[in-house]
């Protein structure tokens, strides 16, 4: 007799974040659509395969008008995965889900960028540029202090003391002497780098690949240096 109890797979939900481009229509919509058409003529494939969020904070549209706008965009091969900047009360079935908590990030320009397209004649305000995430520390980082900034780059104008620690999601720049530990690309960014005016570091790490002071060549010590990741090895070279 076969067992009636079927083994059930447990459901797993994992939070994930994705990069999406937000496009923000400006009133009047008809004029904006013709501007968009003009841009798309120059680079047809710009939105192909891109996740696009529709930022409607600059316009005030009824649910029907939103549906119409989404349809208009789909005609142009722009698939809208979500809308933001609208009152959730205005949402109705059939519309893409309402997104919240979006933050500007720096993203590499996709090929065939339309950023270079001349600005349309209408006196439209420039769209808000995303705030680049970086942390500037003007004082020395003292022994025992730990600076953790996973959102982006960390720049230290002073020195990083022995026993101090900098953890950055992006690159780390130290304009004084780096005597402590520097961990760049801590959130999995293999392209992050570490730059310092004088390397006497206890430990350098990029995307969890590290080297301790013992493994840093003697000829590099006390010199301006940078560290980067090449495959699975942390490379360090002098910068003068």
């Amino acid at each position: 007799m076969s067992s009636l109890v079927r083994q059930r797979h447990s459901l797993m939900f994992r939070p994930r974040s994705y990069m999406a481009f937000a496009i923000a229509p400006q009133p009047p919509i008809v004029g904006w659509l013709s501007d968009l058409d003009a841009s798309l003529e120059r680079s047809e494939a710009f939105f192909a395969g891109q996740h696009v969020a529709l930022d409607l904070s600059a316009v005030n549209l009824s649910p029907t008008a939103i549906g119409q706008l989404v349809a208009n965009l789909e005609e142009r091969n722009i698939r809208v995965l979500g809308i933001e900047g609208v009152d959730p009360a205005k949402w109705q079935a059939g519309l893409p889900p309402v997104l919240r908590g979006g933050r500007g990030t720096r993203a590499s320009e996709p090929p065939g960028s339309i950023a270079a397209a001349p600005a349309p004649a209408s006196g439209r305000p420039p769209s808000q540029s995303p705030q680049p995430a970086s942390l500037m520390i003007e004082d020395p980082v003292r022994s025992g202090q730990s600076v953790i900034f996973t959102e982006g780059d960390v720049t230290v104008l002073g020195s990083v003391g022995s026993g101090a620690e900098i953890v950055a999601g992006g690159s780390i720049h130290v304009y004084g002497t780096l005597r402590g530990r520097a961990l760049a690309g801590a959130t999995g960014n293999a392209r992050a780098r570490i730059f310092c005016h004088r390397v006497e570091a206890e430990l350098l790490a990029i995307n969890s690949y590290y080297r301790t002071a013992d493994d840093i060549e003697e000829s590099l010590r006390c010199r301006p240096a940078q560290a980067w990741l090449e495959g699975h090895t942390l490379q360090i070279s002098a910068m003068n």
Partner: protein
């Protein structure tokens, strides 16, 4: 306007207590009212260095607990009228210190004295954090060697984060006092140079106290070196440091041990 000064270092044995006594006496020399407080509850030393160990009746903990009044615990120095000591308790430990209690004592002292100098215990625990808690300015005592310098770096970080001033967004004025400096040993590479220490700690220099037998002699007879032998090299360095604390411009000399200085020292002793 009273100024609360903490003498701190992180590492033990670098000269905090010696420097507290020497600077306290140097500041009080012109009649300025100075009190030195021992925060090293359980391991007090300042009373010995000040030569007041046989006159201790009440202490800081008694005042915090309300057992004694501040005026009962303060010990007036026998040599300098304007210099006072508030001793620590030897029978209790650092847990007897409370934040409110220390605040109350410091506030009361502010009304009576021009300088309140808190002699911090070594370490970064309760005694040390409460000694620096209400400071307006700090003297970081450092020996020119790597472990002392790193501990000082740690303490500077705490001064910038754990003091009342730091929490209010203000700054604690920080002064670096390098003690036990020997130019010959620095030249031989057995010690860090002054430049190395300043580069690592990037804190303004208050003074350089040369390594000297005079310091130990003074401690053993229970007298601040600035009172015991005011003309000795370390005493003069402490007097200069005290003048800089008061805001005077005094040129800084790196102590050197040339034959000339030795000869002059010997000549003075013989006289």
């Amino acid at each position: 306007m009273a100024k609360v000064l903490v003498v701190t270092s992180g590492k033990g044995g670098v000269g905090k207590t010696t420097s507290t006594a020497a600077l306290g006496a140097a500041l009080a020399h012109d009649g300025t009212k100075v009190v030195v407080i021992d925060f090293d509850v359980g391991l007090r030393n300042l009373d010995l260095v000040m030569g007041a160990e046989r006159r201790v009746v009440f202490d800081l903990i008694n005042v915090i607990n309300g057992v004694a009044k501040l005026s009962q615990a303060l010990i007036r120095d026998k040599r300098l009228e304007s210099l006072h000591l508030l001793p620590a308790s030897q029978t209790r430990d650092k847990d007897a210190l409370t934040e409110d209690g220390v605040a109350k004592v410091i506030d009361e002292l502010r009304t009576k004295f021009d300088w309140i100098i808190c002699d911090s215990p070594a370490g970064i625990e309760r005694g040390a954090t409460l000694a620096m808690r209400y400071a307006d300015a700090a003297i970081i005592v450092t020996n020119p060697e790597v472990s002392s310098v790193r501990d000082s770096d740690r303490i500077i970080g705490l001064l910038d984060s754990k003091t009342v001033r730091a929490e209010r967004g203000e700054r604690v004025d920080k002064h670096l006092l390098i003690t036990r400096y020997s130019s010959s040993r620095a030249a031989r590479g057995e010690m860090l140079s002054i430049d190395d220490v300043l580069e690592i700690l990037s804190t303004p220099l208050l003074g350089i106290i040369p390594e000297s037998q005079e310091v130990l002699c003074a401690s053993n007879v229970g007298s601040p070196v600035t009172l015991n032998n005011p003309l000795s090299a370390p005493a003069r360095a402490y007097f200069d440091a005290a003048r800089r604390l008061k805001g005077e411009q005094v040129s800084m000399l790196v102590p050197s041990e040339t034959r000339g200085i030795f000869n002059r020292l010997f000549a003075r002793k013989a006289a």
